[in-house]
């Protein structure tokens, strides 16, 4: 089903999406409507234009593709499903996501993958094709965040305070130089073959969706950031 979103209120648009959850939906002329696909558990949603904040929040299995840029908080607290953005996105993509995959062709704003978790068989993936802003993977507790830095002008494709408070999961940075300063909670090393094998299948999905060559991406040094403890704040307290 095709929906023309022009001059449609977000509540109305979401109602339409929810009522036809079993179908493949195409939304044209999307102009900043928020919460699209919120909590959606099945089906495919294709969006042309720019969806508003909180696209696919609490997503529970549906597949969302955006042909354009996206705004803040895509995939907030997502549990399952996939989100492809054929463009860039704003701040906090994948906030506290526990499962599912987010692929962003271009850049991401601040706090990408903050509080990302993993649990049992759920291990989320966030791949950012270009640069990521500051606070990438802050408080990360699980899952994998990959920043590829394709077409990036900087030596390292992330901003300040990368991985602050990290206590689980992995951050992959495709670059030859580490960020100028990393927080105490983070260990950095060059990615091993095993590290790269962990993300190979997802890089393949990324390349297939965005029409890129996998070889060109993986034939490049990657750094891997991991937490140096699961309990970063254990020593901070004394009881009285």
């Amino acid at each position: 089903m095709n929906i023309n979103a022009l001059a449609t209120d977000f509540q109305e648009l979401n109602k339409l999406i929810k009522s036809s959850v079993e179908e493949d939906l195409v939304i044209n002329n999307c102009m900043g409507q928020r919460y699209l696909g919120c909590g959606l558990s099945a089906g495919k949603l294709k969006i042309y234009g720019v969806p508003g904040n909180a696209l696919g929040a609490y997503l529970d299995g549906a597949a969302i593709t955006v042909h354009g840029n996206a705004q803040d908080s895509i995939g907030d607290t997502m549990n399952e499903g996939t989100i492809y953005i054929h463009g860039s996105c704003g701040d906090t993509p994948g906030y506290a996501m526990r499962g599912g995959k987010i692929f962003i062709k271009g850049n991401a704003g601040y706090r990408a993958g903050i509080h990302m978790k993993s649990y049992q068989d759920k291990s989320p993936v966030l791949i950012i094709g270009g640069d990521a802003g500051s606070f990438l993977g802050e408080y990360q507790a699980g899952g994998r965040i990959v920043v590829l830095g394709l077409n990036s002008n900087s030596k390292c494709p992330v901003g300040y305070f990368c991985g602050t408070g990290m206590h689980g999961g992995k951050i992959y940075l495709r670059c030859k130089e580490l960020p100028s300063s990393l927080p105490d909670q983070v260990n950095a090393s060059l990615a091993s073959k095993e590290d790269l094998q962990e993300i190979e299948a997802d890089i393949e999905l990324f390349c297939r969706e965005f029409g890129l060559a996998k070889g060109g991406i993986l034939d490049h040094p990657f750094y891997v950031l991991t937490p140096n403890t699961k309990n970063p704040y254990r020593q901070m307290y004394v009881h009285c």
């Binding site: 549990n79 649990y119 004394v238």
Partner: protein
């Protein structure tokens, strides 16, 4: 001999004449205060391990035990108290941030105790609650601003979602993990029987508790633990925790050693991993951002659940509440600084925030002035200790109140403030199966039902005395209150007159 060695704070006194050597004190004390000597017969105590929780005293069949505060102390000094000195020793030794539990124990003003309630005499006679129906039912949620009619003149039901409570008392948020499963079960079952709600806190919802749906408030906090679609739909309302009274501006942190078994499962994080809830929601920097979280939750639950925003009572609380009332939230929960059951950094707990009485009065007043009081219901929390506190809170502007410490005391908590140790002898703040088993959820439920029923009866008596037969008519009815021994500024903020006026 270390500098910070100090004679224990409590002494366990055993009356050897009365002691029957049953050994119950040994088996009941998880802090291992009591033990047998090498001969296996004589009992001995290690006072230093005692937290004064009274478990041994309560179980001793011959009343042979008592715990006394040690009179060993520093030289008297009004400025440098024992507590102050001991805290310095402790921090000098470890370099750690002081952490403690169960609310602010300091001698801070309790305004409830300086407010008096009215009663009718001669004119506007009082109502006898034993004879007349007294309504304590409350509906929490946003009220529509206008009546809408369809083309035929029929009224359109534009009522936003509400939670209906038989009593104006809810159990405040305490997560599974911070308290035990049996404590949660007691609260949940009591909420069902009382026709009210308990709040599952920010630690997700245990699978056994999804059946309490209509009596559950689920929480979404900055860490988003255990939050998924099914969870959002599992409660009668969703509470966004922006702050809590015990630690305004500070996040939560459940240490990895408490993330075991079902707690890990419920929070949906691996065992042994710290559960860190940062101070801010990192996607909320403004009322507009808050509105976004409110609406994403409404969208995810088809606008069927009222959204509560819980904030700590802080200096600018009236402006903050005004913003929240415009964010699309249906209910605001205000948490005052004397409250709190969980672990909180001591300095924050004892020094940050303001009392609930002042916060509540100023919020209610501001929302009325701005004509948006109907946008939201108000729940007040932060140390409501009895039914009179509840009546005063409602008359100051609350639609309902949250209780937590009172509820834990009903379950057996003796306020020893050792929650962080994980060895709660009363089976409340522990995940040790042997200790949890001491709290019978059936008995716990009954004690909570008794407490709230008794309070409700007292509330009805007080309402009757005022000539009010519906609790909703008491909300914000400040003419029913008078201050005693308060200065004019305090009276002004509380919006009440002095006794005798």
């Amino acid at each position: 001999m270390s500098i910070n060695y100090f004679y224990p704070e409590f002494e366990v006194i055993r009356d050897k004449e009365k002691c029957v050597h049953c050994g119950l004190c040994v088996s009941e004390c998880a802090n291992q205060v009591h033990s047998y000597k090498a001969d296996g017969k004589q009992l001995t105590v290690d006072d230093a391990k005692c937290v004064n929780c009274h478990r041994c005293v309560c179980v001793c069949p011959s009343r042979a035990l008592q715990i006394r505060k040690s009179n060993h102390n520093f030289k008297y000094n009004a400025n440098w108290s024992r507590r102050t000195i001991m805290e310095i020793y402790s921090q000098a030794e470890t370099g750690g941030v002081l952490l403690s539990s169960m609310g602010n124990p300091k001698d801070m003003p309790v305004y409830w105790d300086k407010i008096l309630i009215n009663a009718s005499q001669v004119t506007n006679p009082s109502i006898d609650p034993l004879r007349e129906p007294m309504e304590t039912k409350v509906f929490l949620g946003s009220k529509p601003t206008a009546i809408q009619r369809d083309g035929k003149g029929k009224i359109i039901n534009n009522m936003p979602p509400h939670i209906a409570l038989d009593v104006p008392i809810l159990f405040s948020a305490m997560s599974y993990g911070s308290i035990s499963l049996n404590a949660h079960a007691s609260l949940a079952n009591a909420a069902v029987e009382l026709g009210t709600c308990y709040n599952a806190g920010e630690g997700g919802l245990h699978e056994d508790f999804y059946r309490y749906r209509d009596n559950t408030i689920i929480q979404v906090a900055s860490g988003r633990f255990g939050v998924h679609k099914g969870y959002l739909e599992a409660g009668a309302a969703i509470e966004i925790k922006m702050g809590q009274g015990a630690k305004p501006g500070i996040g939560g942190h459940l240490p990895g050693n408490k993330i075991v078994g079902d707690v890990s499962k419920t929070r949906m994080i691996p065992e042994g991993s710290d559960a860190i809830s940062p101070a801010p929601h990192h996607d909320i920097y403004s009322i507009e951002d808050l509105r976004q979280l409110v609406y994403s939750l409404k969208e995810a639950t088809d606008y069927k659940k009222p959204i509560i925003v819980k904030v700590a009572a802080v200096h600018n609380i009236a402006s903050i509440a005004s913003g929240i009332a415009r964010s699309g939230a249906d209910i605001i929960a205000l948490d005052g600084f004397r409250g709190g059951t969980g672990a909180a950094p001591t300095r924050i707990r004892d020094n940050v925030g303001i009392p609930i009485e002042l916060a509540l009065a100023s919020v209610d007043e501001r929302l009325r002035q701005e004509g948006i009081r109907g946008n939201v219901s108000l729940i007040a929390g932060g140390s409501l200790r009895n039914s009179a506190d509840v009546v005063k809170a409602i008359a100051l502007g609350a639609d309902a109140v949250y209780i937590a410490t009172s509820a834990l005391i009903a379950l057996g908590c003796h306020l020893c403030r050792g929650c962080h140790s994980g060895t709660c002898n009363w089976g409340i703040a522990t995940q040790n199966p042997a200790l949890i088993a001491r709290l019978d959820p059936e008995e716990g439920k009954q004690r909570l039902v008794n407490l709230v029923s008794a309070w409700t009866h007292e509330i009805k008596e007080m309402m009757g005395g005022m000539g009010i037969n519906s609790i909703e008519a008491l909300t914000g009815n400040r003419l029913m209150l008078r201050g005693i021994g308060l200065n004019s500024k305090e009276l002004e903020v509380l919006g009440i007159m002095h006794a005798g006026e």
